[in-house]
Amino acid sequence: MAGGWIGKGATVDKKSDSLAQVALDAGKAGKLLSCRELVKAYGEGPPALAGVSFQMDAPGFTVLLGSSGSGKTTLLRAIAGLVPLESGEIQVAGRTMTRTNLSSVRRQLGMVHQEFALVERLTSVQNVLSGAATQVSWPRIVCQAYPEELRRRACQLLADVGLTEAQANRKARELSGGQRQRVGIARALIRKPKLFLADEPVANLDPETAAGLLTLLREAVTSRGIGVLCSLHQTDLALRYADRIIGLKAGRIVFDGAPDAFTPSVASTLFARDGAPHALTVAAA
């Protein structure tokens, strides 16, 4: 699938050192990600997040599993600072996210989106490089003249996710869904994030492309020592790729554990529709 992750082994140890340091700073908080009592409501309907608390201590592939409307996207967007919360606290790499330090906390994050969220009129490589805007001075941003080192890195990342030179120079709108999502992954990796958020990264892809992409994502992040929080709605994919599964239903965590503990009965509870009143209230909202 992807080529080897050349020369990345050494950085893993350094990463865990810095993670340990961060953990010391953070005291009893989670090392990588800590969410406490997150509450978010849209309008008058039932809350999208009704008090979600969990921690991610170490790098690994954590899957957020749940049906549509269970609050997965809202949770990921909240962690990325894209959704203002009613209450609750988010710590990324030991730092509490506030309105003022949003930008610096976000530098620890990489994110891929369900709709790929690429700039259609830019080439793949320009899209990947746009992820590194924080490392580039503004005159360079204006001219889109990225330093040679970053450009090399972007090319390497695109090769790692399986794109060719020709595809690297193609505009995003000319790529297939799978190729776009690969560009999205490369864009999220270019800044060497500590935590990788993936919002239904394979929802718009066919099953085979989806499996290939998740293998790639898993390889990419584990070899770099990055923690992944990936939302999915397919139980089979979650069981195949996850180190840990967090089951989300109506804005609450109803399951949190290893894939082994995720029994069919848990699955049926997680995906069971509630009684008619709930469904109808959602429709009314």
Binding site: E44, A80, G81, L82, L102, S103, S104, V105, R106, R107, L109, G110, M111, H113, E115, F116, A117, L118, V119, E120, R121, L122, S130, G131, A132, A133, T134, W138, I141, V142, Q144, G184, R187, A188, R191, L197, L280, T281, A283, A284, A285
Partner: protein
């Protein structure tokens, strides 16, 4: 409240399809509004004496068809067209008014023409009118006036191009302040929008009238007047494009911790660039048309020439001017439409 909605839904489920009540295409409000509009229009038509217009046009149509002897419109138009055609292409200047005669004679096809003239003057000795035979030499440049008009048209185009350039340069930053999702503060957004609609609300012809007083006759007041007005348009349209741009790539870049400026440059600008270019081209196209008009108040270009010739009753030259304007606008319209189609 949600219970109310539930009840309504349950009710509609109960009715069989043949008993479903559908929304009327025109409701009572639409009918009342249409009636009100008719009353207002009738009142206004009576105030403006629109009946006269209909009777004039009617008699013109009848006269054209030979069913009526004459019509007011026909008389006016035939007088004008008799004055306008043939249009003036060449330029004849008495040699005594030409400074650099040798240089102008060196131009291709330029020649001297001598015409016998008879000047009637009062003989001071006999106190009678008598004709003095004489001759006058003219410098004839066969395409002289056409070239002059084309040069004026070029000046008009230059006025429009500079005005558009200034408008784009000012509108780009201004539109960011006027876009709801990028304005630094809601008060700046409000102030920006107000300022931009103020710029838009002053017609070019009016502002040019005053700017001619400030800058003097010539192309500069024209450029400023057009730039002000087109900034009002462009900033508004640019801002609306920015607001409507796909938010997902913007979020994707913002999530990396990038500044708003970086997001604007890397996600917003590439998405809206084609639309910006199309709008700017449209404004250029429009500015060329407006630049011919504001010349009427002395703000340079072909309009100034047009007004001068019109006031001197030289309708044959006016004909040349109108023809050149008409052809230029037609050409530009086709050209900019083609470029915009390729962009979008």
């Amino acid at each position: 409240m949600s219970v109310q909605v539930l009840g309504d839904r349950a009710g509609s489920h109960d009715r069989p399809p043949e008993a479903w009540r559908l929304k009327p295409v025109f409701d009572a409000r639409a009918v009342i509004l249409a009636g009100l509009a008719v009353v207002l229009l009738a009142f206004s038509a009576q105030r403006l004496d629109l009946g006269q217009m209909f009777s004039d046009v009617g008699s013109f149509i009848l006269a054209s068809a030979g069913l009526k002897e004459r019509s007011d419109i026909g008389d006016g138009l035939s007088g004008l067209s008799a004055g306008m055609f043939p249009i003036v292409i060449d330029e004849r200047t008495p040699v005594e008014f030409v400074d650099d005669l040798d240089a102008r004679l060196a131009a291709p096809f330029a020649r001297l023409e001598t015409v016998a003239t008879e000047e009637i003057a009062l003989d001071t000795n006999t106190l009678e009118m008598s004709g003095n035979m004489g001759e006058r030499t003219y410098l004839v440049e066969p395409a002289g006036y056409l070239l002059f008009v084309l040069l004026k048209m070029l000046e008009t185009f230059e006025i429009a191009a500079w005005a558009t350039l200034f408008a784009v340069a000012v509108s780009l930053p201004l539109s960011v302040l006027c876009a709801r999702n990028y304005a630094p503060h809601v008060s700046i957004y409000g102030a920006g929008r107000t300022f931009v609609s103020f710029l838009r609300s002053v017609p070019e012809l009016i502002s040019a009238l005053f700017l001619v007083l400030a800058f003097g006759f010539g192309p500069i007041p024209g450029i400023v007047a057009l730039a002000i007005h087109s900034t009002g348009f462009l900033a508004k349209f640019f801002a609306e494009d920015i607001e409507a741009a796909d938010p997902r790539p913007q979020e994707a870049i913002a999530v990396t911790g990038a500044s708003r400026f970086a997001v604007l440059r890397l996600a917003v600008l590439p998405s809206v660039l084609a639309s910006f270019t199309g709008l700017s081209l449209y404004i250029l196209d429009r500015n060329v048309r407006m630049a011919t008009v504001i010349g009427l108040v002395g703000a340079g270009g072909i309009g100034q020439e047009l007004k001068g010739r019109f006031d001197m009753f030289q309708y044959d030259r006016v004909g040349t001017l109108l023809l050149v304007i008409f052809l230029t606008v037609l050409l530009l319209d086709a050209l900019s439409a083609r470029i915009r189609r390729r962009l979008i």
